[in-house]
Symmetry: C2
């Protein structure tokens, strides 16, 4: 079987993780990554023998001992598919400048607007919609987290109105530019963009979202209230969630009481970079009042979308079996 | 008119603020406070000529140049009413040890269980219930904040199910003992205690609450979803809230985008200790979807209950006019 040739454009928080994940798939081959200028991430990539392709103009790779493998144009020409992990709005520019003229399939991240792609994607929700597509958008970390659990609840009980409050990390662990340091910063637009974003994947869900940023770097948390059509049962739901891919149940009775302890668990599991690509739900924080379901979950913003990018590659290249793709991805990444 | 003689037992975050507030009321006289041992708070109180009464046993006041005014027993005997601002569970001990035997009226704070008092209290919700009572419990900061705004919504539209997510400050500004430093810590019991606590004041409201602590010291935030019986109107609601006592509307268009900026505003207003006893709601963060109302609000945990304590004193001493008491308190404290 010929391997899928993947290029990754953008080597930040998501890009570097997608690169590692691609390299772990038996049916994929990483052609290379793009680089603008020398930095510690490029040094690590070079140490890992990852070919670095550069954009036109000045760069400082050679003077730092790194010989570029070629130009970004070369990279894109060589690839079957490009995973665009550039900062938001740059993906749109890249699509017009490179991917359309070169007739290359491309995956975009959740920072881009939905209309950049033919569909928005969460593997366990709508894999089939991505089969054979040229442009797919993997939704953001928060939206991915919302969709994974809401799909389970919708399948079991049928969803009425959903209200989710996102308590967002203020910055990523390696970030020095953002705040807040000591404040809660609400998103002062209602609904926040997450609600409409969920609907790009779960098309019939009536969801309203509010969000705020807080002084933490580890994970996002979500507080969710979902009206259900049938009366939910906590025990049954926990059982179902336990057997759902990419969802991990955590328990305060095991002293996993906070996002800090979830991240410590990921490190103890020897996960690469201490990542937790599974959506985590606390067993003790699932409650029912009449037909209303309430739950709290945590999202590792740096890694939750990584398996989605891998499955999107397969679907777009024509691999039709969603379950099989998810299984392959999970196994390679040691994800539940 | 004879002034109400008030003793304050416990001189921490709430106690020291209640002391200041009592001293500003024309119809009240502060008899004194209790002290266990010398510290910077006692030094400041002494500088302000506040009489300090001590408990039996060793103490280090005299060696630090402070002559106690008498014993705690003397203080309680002298007072008409005692505001108990001791840490949670101590109020219950004090009630049995001092207030019942001495037949003294007493106010407790929200850390105590509801059954410590005859009623739980938020002035603008149920002042009348406190008139002439011997034991009243001023509810916690979060519950006070929830009640103030929900009362308005209930009066206007009628409340169905309410779900509130509390994003709580991890510690008070002067605190060195608590966390989290860099994590989100959910309350892993559903509902959190806040929901049942609201019902001790707004008896007929069907409310479910979830909560988590975050790394900030300034204020709590609440994300609220209230099903209404009539369709809410954002403009009308804002207008009504603007004219509701102890509620302050803030706006991102004035660059009040976060709890940090609300606290900065309070400092700019020359509020004592930079306090903001008003519940703050963001105008831009009120949204409606069908009969569902969504809003975000901020609660200054250190000061929101201070005016409630003052009004509770008056009600318990037989002052029957709720509006008049609230007006007197507000004027003395420069509260809206």
């Amino acid at each position: 079987m010929e391997k899928i040739k993947v290029a990754v454009n953008g080597y930040g928080t998501i890009g570097k993780r997608v690169v590692d994940a691609v390299r772990l798939q038996k049916d994929m081959e990483l052609v290379g990554i793009t680089g603008h200028s020398y930095n510690f991430r490029m040094e690590v990539a070079h140490d890992c023998k990852i070919p670095i392709y550069i954009f036109d103009g000045e760069n400082d790779f050679e003077e730092n001992g790194i010989k570029p493998a070629g130009s970004a144009d070369d990279l894109f020409d060589e690839a079957d598919i490009i995973v665009d992990c550039t900062p938001k709005k740059i993906g749109k520019e890249n699509k017009e400048k490179y991917y359309i003229p070169k007739k290359k399939k491309a995956i975009f991240q959740g920072g881009e607007k939905p209309d950049i792609a033919q569909i928005s994607f969460v593997a366990q929700c709508n894999y089939k919609e991505a089969i054979g597509k040229d442009y797919v958008r993997v939704v953001s970390c928060n939206t991915t987290g919302l969709c994974r659990a809401l799909k389970v609840v919708d399948d079991l009980y049928g969803l009425g109105l959903v209200h989710a409050t996102m308590i967002r990390r203020g910055a990523d662990p390696g970030d020095i530019f953002h705040g807040p340091i000591n404040a809660i910063v609400p998103v002062l637009e209602l609904p926040s963009h997450h609600g409409p974003d969920v609907q790009t994947v779960l098309h019939n869900v009536n969801i309203f979202t509010t969000a705020m940023s807080v002084s933490t770097t580890l994970m996002h948390c979500h507080s969710i209230h979902a009206e259900c059509k049938k009366t939910p049962n906590v025990k049954d739901l926990i059982e179902k969630l336990k057997h759902t891919t990419r969802i991990r149940m955590v328990r305060t009775s095991e002293r996993v009481r906070s996002t800090a302890e979830i991240m410590e668990l990921a490190r103890d599991l020897s996960r690469s970079r201490g990542d937790m690509p599974e959506l985590c739900l606390w067993e003790e924080a699932i409650g029912v009042s009449g037909k209303n379901l309430f739950y709290l979950q945590a999202v590792h913003q740096e890694s939750i979308v990584v398996p989605e990018n891998i499955d999107a590659i397969r679907a777009m290249m024509g691999f039709k079996d969603a379950e099989k793709s998810i299984e392959m991805t999970n196994k390679a990444l040691n994800v539940k």
